[in-house]
Structures are given as C-alpha cells and as structure tokens.
C-alpha cells in the first residue's frame, strides 16, 4: 500500500538541526512536566532511603568499615556504588539536579504567567452563569445601578471590574485569592534558595573536633589557627584550612550533674575566649558553655560535645627521676563512665635508641570514676566522679612509636605485644595515691584524675541564608495551601414584569479555581447578602 499523502500538505524534510531542536524541545517539555517532577520526587525519596538504613562514611566511619568488612563482596559492591556516601553520590546528585532543572523549568513560565495575571483584569462574565458550579438567580425591586453599587461595596477586597453588556445588561467580574499563587511561587523559589545555599554550605563550611583538658592549664587552651590544632577536621570542598577564623579559648572547669539513677542532667563548662580585637588586646571574655548553648563568635560556633577522664600517673624511675603525665582516656561505657586508655612514658636519660626501646613504659587499663569492685574486677557504679580508681597493666618494652606507624593515643600497639617486644610487667588495682613497684624498682603512682572535654568548632557561612529561604518557603506554603483562588460574577438585567413594573434580574455565579472544596459556603453567604441586601435597599 502506498501512503495517501494529500497534495496540499506541505512537505518538508526534517533537517538535522530541526530534528535536534525538536528533540531538545521535547526533552525540555518532558523534564519540566508535572509528571516527571512527581517521578523525580519519588526517586529522591527512594534514593535517600539507603542513607537511613546503611552506615555512612561521613557519619560513622568505623561502623561503615565494619559493615563493609562483614559483608564481603556485597559490601564492597555497595561501597563502589556509593551506598555509604549516599548524599554525595553521583546518582543522588543527579536526581536532585534534575529535580532542580525541572523546578526551574516549571517556575520560569509560571512566574511570567503570574506577572501577567497580576496585571490583568478579571475575566469576562460568562454568557450563561447557570452553567457554573455555583449559581443563584433572583428578581429584585431595586434598579440595576443600585444593585451594582451594592455589589461593588460588598465585594470590597476582591479585584473587580464592571462591564456594560448588550441591551442594558451590566456585570461585575470579581476575583480573589491571588496570594495563593504568590505563596506558591514563594514556596518554590524558597526551596530553590535552600538547595543552592545548602550546596554552597557544603563548599565553604568546615567543622573540627578537639579534646582539651578542663582545668585552665596550658592543655586546656585551643586556638583556631590551623588544621593541625584539631584532632579531626572535616573541611568543605573549598576549604584548605589556611583561612580559619582566628580565636582562642581556654576551658577552666567542667561539671557534670547526674540524677541518683545515673542519668545525666547537665554538662557545663566555664570557658574564656578571645576573638577579633580581643586577640590583639589579649583580653579574655568568660562564657558558660553548655549543651544547647554553643559559643558563637565571629561567625564560628563552639560546641560542648563530650567529656571524659584523664588519670594522672607519676612514674619514678630507679635513678630517682620522675615523670608525671595525664592523657585522655576514652569512655567505653557512657552510662557508667568506665574508660580505657594508655598513658605512655619514655625512660629518662637514655640516649641509645636500642636501650630506650627496651625500657619504654605504658600504663594501660581501665578507669572507673565511681569504683565498684567485684572481687578483683574493677567496674564503675556510675558516671559521678566520687571514688576514682584504676585497674592497670603496666607494659614495658618497645611501644613501637619509632616504627613510623601512627598509633592511637588510647591504645598500645598490639603487634608489639604479639611479637613479644612489649611485655606486661605488672597488673594491679590502684586507688588515688596508691602506687605499685615494678621488678626493677620503678614505681608507678596513680595521682588523681583530670577531666577533659571534647569541643567542636563549626563554621558555615551560608546557614543564615538557608534559614531565610526556609522561612520564605514556609510562609509561602501557608499561602499556597490555605488561600483559595475563586471567581464571582454578578449580572444585572432590567426587566418589566406583567404589571409593567420595572424590576431587575440579578444573577450571581461562582467558580473556585483550585481543587479545594469549601467555596460553597462563602459563595452562598455573598450571594445571600447581594440579593437580600438589595431588597432591603430603599
């Protein structure tokens, strides 16, 4: 069969350019359609889900690594597919970028339409008001002018226009609820703003954590002078750590209060800080740092994250020299405050590296703030610092600090123990002031305990923008959901009844332009006012 092309139909060959243009246009239309937006919204929700179910690298690195290790090839596959970095993954970014494009494509024409409709007059009165969803018709005694004047008064607050129609018929078109679309646009532009500000925040923000002692000593000072000052630091994509806001702080004390049950009630620290001009003048300002009450200075915030204990040990070597050290131990149980750690000592006066490596000491074990002995086993009855005690293993030999491998300040290098180069030479429980003596006469005394706090410094220049856009978004949401866009028309026509008396036919019609029901009641009320009000008019 040959195709039956009618001769008058204009034939043209689609050029590649035209085809490309059509393709682009169709893609754009498809992308910006509501249906696509819906599908993208769903994809976004779906794509965000793994982040709630799987551990994430940037939230909990140890747990993530453990998860991957425990799940073999499956864990590695998920890792490669960025399931442990959901929110910076390629696929998540792709979805929200597409959604943003779709949003812009939807908002641009809508804004133009919005401006046009804000300037336009209410639409012409439909010829047959009886076909509208809301309609009332009545004959009244008042003449058309009066009826229209009264209607005009009643419809104050509506945008309205009076028009003359044929044969003495006149009408008012009125429309109300323009703020709905205003709110709608506010909401969507606000959301766009939030997304952009959020993305910028990921570039220019940073946060860092640092542990300092809480006793006002040198070990309790911190200066935001560079990345090296932190124990851990997460920079934004555009932060290289060279331009941190300069400020210094010092933690003078820390207090934790607990209920009898051991439940924490308050953590508070008294700190002093200097920033801005205070740095040059070297003046310190006091601040009471609490959970929920971060220090805000120069656009940076300092938070009290955590706290813990640092037992102090003094080692007196056989030659009579002594060394005192306190280093933070980490809590292993937050409800009882039981902590573990390793305080490491170098033997004094030994220059030979080989000999030194045979005599390094580490005091490791458990610390209990409120000691409770089960036989020889030390546990902690609660987190209150009332009866501190330690259960220590003293290790002697090569700590492995010269091996070039980094090591945790909380642990000794287990491989050194396994290879026999680090040996346990004592195991004892000590109360404050008690000491133990090693076979070579070295004494290790438990002097007491210091407290440390973990602080976080956060810097995010865009968060105030996020807040502003979020407020705009919320305000817009209220308008777009609760304001009804609706139209109302009044038409008056003079008639003569059978007795030759002049009367006026009044017709009122109404149409809600949104799918929200509930216009009926308002319409009935207005129509009632218009009709009965006219009749009472003189």
């Amino acid at each position: 069969m040959t195709s039956t092309v009618t001769p008058e139909r204009k034939q043209y060959r689609p050029t590649p350019a035209r085809r490309a243009l059509a393709f682009l246009r169709n893609t754009w239309r498809g992308l910006t359609s509501m249906r696509t937006a819906l599908v993208l919204l769903f994809l976004l929700a779906l794509a965000a889900l793994p982040g709630a179910l799987l551990p994430q690298h940037d939230l909990n690195e140890p747990k993530t690594r453990e998860y991957i290790a425990n799940h073999g090839w499956w864990g590695q596959l998920l890792d490669r597919l960025q399931f442990f970095d959901v929110y910076s993954s390629v696929w998540f970014s792709a979805i929200y970028l597409l959604l943003m494009v779709s949003l812009v494509g939807c908002l641009a024409p809508r804004s133009v339409e919005y401006v046009r409709s804000m300037r336009a007059k209410p639409v012409l009165t439909p010829r047959n008001l009886g076909r509208l969803p809301h309609h009332v018709r009545a004959e009244v005694d008042a003449d058309p002018d009066e009826v229209l004047a009264a209607a005009d008064r009643r419809l104050r607050g509506w945008r309205r226009v009076q028009r003359d129609e044929t044969e003495g018929t006149r009408s008012i078109s009125a429309e109300r609820g323009y703020l709905r679309e205003t709110g709608n646009l506010f909401f969507h532009f606000g959301m766009l703003g939030v997304i952009v500000a959020f993305a910028l925040g990921a570039m220019y923000s940073y946060e860092g954590q640092v542990i300092v002692f809480a006793d006002g000593s040198e070990a309790s000072e911190f200066c935001n002078s560079g990345i090296y000052a932190y124990d851990s630091f997460n920079p934004g994509l555009r932060v290289d750590g060279t331009e941190l806001t300069p400020f210094c702080l010092r933690v003078n004390d820390f207090a934790a209060t607990y209920a009898d049950t051991g439940q924490p009630i308050a953590y508070e620290a008294n700190i002093e800080y200097q920033s801005g001009a205070d740095l040059a003048a070297d003046t310190w300002r006091p601040y009471h740092l609490e959970v929920n009450e971060p220090l805000r200075t120069e656009g940076d915030r300092v938070y009290l994250l955590d706290h813990g204990f640092a037992p102090t040990f003094t080692v007196t070597f056989p030659d009579g020299t002594s060394r005192t050290q306190a280093i933070q131990w980490r809590p292993v149980d937050n409800t009882t405050g039981l902590s573990e750690g390793a305080t490491k000592f170098e033997p004094p006066g030994i220059t030979d590296a080989e000999e030194r490596r045979q005599n390094q000491l580490a005091v490791t074990g458990l610390f209990a703030p409120n000691a409770l002995m089960h036989g020889e086993i030390l546990t902690s009855a609660g987190p209150q610092l009332t009866n501190p005690a330690v259960a220590v293993d003293v290790m002697r030999g090569d700590l492995g600090v010269d091996s070039g491998r980094g090591q945790s300040i909380f642990e000794i290098d287990q491989s050194m123990v396994d290879s026999g180069r680090l040996e346990r030479v004592a195991r004892e429980n000590l109360d404050v002031g008690e000491q133990l003596t090693l076979d070579d006469g070295t004494k290790v005394r438990f002097d007491g305990v210091d407290q440390w706090v973990s602080l976080q410094v956060s810097h995010d220049p865009t968060q105030v923008w996020v807040l502003g856009f979020a407020i705009a978004m919320f305000a817009g949401l209220g308008g777009s959901l609760f304001i009804k866009r609706r139209r109302l028309w009044v038409r008056v026509a003079p008639v003569e009844d059978a007795d030759g008396k002049r009367r006026t036919v009044v017709e009122v019609g109404g149409l809600a332009r949104t799918d929200q029901a509930g216009y009926g009641e308002e319409f009935a009320k207005i129509a009632d006012d218009l009709l009965t009000g006219d009749r009472k008019a003189p």
């Binding site: 709630a52 309609h135 959970v291 929920n292 029901a517």
Partner: protein, 322 residues
C-alpha cells in the same frame, strides 16, 4: 528537679484506662459498622446536603437554606455508634489527663521519650478524628482509626514504657516544646489521611469489581468523601510537619553543631516530607488524582510509621531517646 511519683502513678493509670476506653469505643463502632444501615446512604446524604448548601443550580428566588432532613428514628446500631463517640471523648479526656499529669510530675513538656511521644501522637490522632466527625458523617469508620491508635498505645505502654524522669541534657531546650510538639501533631494527623486513603483503595477496588470486598466495600462512604477527608487532613498536617522539621533543623544547629546532617531520623523525615509533597502535587496532575494519590498517601503513612519505630528503635542515630 525531683519527679513527683504520685502524679506519675496517676498518669499511668489514666493512660491505661484511656486505652481500655478506646478499646470499648472501638467495639461499639465495629458494631455500628457491621450492623448499621449507614454506609453508602450516609455518604449519599451528605453529598446532597452539601450541594444544597452550596446553592446549586436553583432557579428560584433565594438559595434554599440547608434544611435538616426530617429526623429518622435512630436505629440501635446508630445509638451504639453515638455511644462510641461519647466513649471516645471520654477516652480522649483521660488521655489528656494522663499527658498533663505526666508533665506535672516531671515539671516539663511531657514528650521527652518514645513512650510519651507515642502517647501525644495518639492523642492528636483521636482529637483530629473527633473534629473530622463533626464535619463528615463517617462515624462508623472510627474503629479503623482507633485500631492503629490502640495498637500504638499498647506498644508504647508495654515495650516502650519509660519511668517518669528528667530530661537528658541534649533535650533541655525550649525547642523541645516547639519541635517535638509540631512533629507529634503533624505525625498524629497524618495517621488519619493514611487510614482514609487505605479505605479509599478498598472502596475503589470494590467499585471496579463488586466481587472484591463485597461485604465491606458497600458500607464505606463514597470515594470523594474519603478523598476529601484525606486531602483536608493532609493539607493541614503538611505545614505543621514542615514547621516541625524546620524547627528541628534550627535546634540541631544549636545542639549538634549543624542544622542538617542526614541523621537517620532527619533522612526519613525528609523522605516522608517529599512523599507528602508528591501527594499534594499528584492532586494537581491529570491522571494522578484518585487512586494514585491515595497510594502515595498510604506510602507517606508507611514512611511516618517507619520513622516512628524503625528509626528510633533499630538504627543508631542522634534521635535514639527511647
């Protein structure tokens, strides 16, 4: 801040009594649902009444005032249904007393742990349903709303029960009052569109093929009644929920050092928010109204429940206060 144990004991008793009263009310409603002659008739009646109220295409002088139909004698089932409402109100009062007493006992807002949070969510749901009942004649459906409420309260009162105690430091902020109450009100209301949308799907299935749900389907109100209930409650809950999430972000900035960190709770709240946003959009999209919108709402409901239980009890995150 010592805890007043007498008051907290009274609070527990009124909680338990409230659950018992809800169970009774549920039985009453089930009787009405099963034996009442309401169902479709009731729905049809409201529809006609609303059209009259709207001043439909009448050609005579005044729009007719919505005259009540001549009161039909109430059937026994209807009377039982009305007793169910009375019981529900009683249950809600006891429920309220339980919340207030808990607050007085601990001298703080009574929503500082999972038990208290579930209690407040259920209270919001019941109150919202009572408001819905005033506007729509769907009393015989109350059992389907009370069922999840009773289950939630049972789970809350047994497995998740927590002795009245002061707040942990991270929760000691006025944001607790704002953020948690907004989140609870939002989530509590979201339960109702969830139930209404489920019933919508059942009804739609039945209308398409009367053999499906042949007994149950015809007793449900018309599709548009269910749809309207779902839409109106969602439209109300969505901004409240949004407000709750925004306040949560502001609080997180002060408490955790960042306003948004993809904590599991934050993530699932975001997911639920996106789903409800999709629901609102679907209502404005040709081909997505009706069935698909109802499905979306049910998914949103599932996300809300998931957020309540799974995220708080299974995953480890900053919101684990149970």
């Amino acid at each position: 801040m010592p805890v007043n144990e007498t008051l907290s004991q009274y609070s527990d008793w009124s909680y338990t009594t409230a659950v018992a009263v809800y169970v009774f009310a549920m039985v009453f409603f089930l009787v009405e649902q099963s034996f009442g002659r309401k169902g479709r008739q009731a729905a049809a009646r409201t529809r006609s009444r609303e059209l009259v109220g709207a001043g439909g295409p009448s050609t005579t002088v005044t729009p007719s005032t919505s005259e009540e139909r001549p009161a039909q004698p109430r059937t026994r089932a209807e009377r039982i249904g009305r007793m169910g409402v009375a019981l529900t109100v009683l249950g809600a009062l006891l429920h309220l007393a339980s919340l207030v007493l808990r607050g007085l006992a601990t001298s703080r807002a009574p929503w500082g742990n999972m038990y208290e949070y579930i209690a407040i969510i259920c209270f919001v749901t019941v109150v919202t349903w009572l408001v819905v009942l005033r506007k729509s004649p769907v009393r015989h459906l109350s059992a389907f709303v009370l069922l999840p409420v009773v289950i939630l309260m049972f789970v809350g009162g047994t497995w998740l029960y927590t002795i009245a105690a002061p707040l942990q430091p991270a929760l000691q902020s006025y944001w607790l009052v704002i953020h948690v109450s907004a989140a609870a009100v939002g989530s509590g209301i979201f339960l109702i569109p969830g139930v209404a949308s489920l019933l919508y799907l059942v009804k739609a299935r039945n209308e398409k093929n009367p053999a499906k749900f042949a007994r149950f389907g015809p007793k449900l109100p018309a599709l548009d009644v269910l749809d309207r209930i779902a839409y109106r409650t969602t439209v109300f809950a969505f901004p409240v929920f949004t407000f709750g999430v925004l306040c949560g972000a502001v609080w997180a900035e002060a408490a955790w050092g960042r306003f948004w960190g993809w904590d599991p709770k934050e993530t699932v709240a975001f997911i639920a928010w996106v789903i409800y946003a999709a629901y609102l959009h679907s209502r404005a999209t040709a081909g997505w109204r009706g069935n698909r919108a109802a499905v979306i709402n049910v998914i949103g409901f599932a996300a809300t429940v998931f957020n309540l239980f799974f995220v708080n009890l299974v995953t480890v995150g900053l919101h684990s206060y149970a």
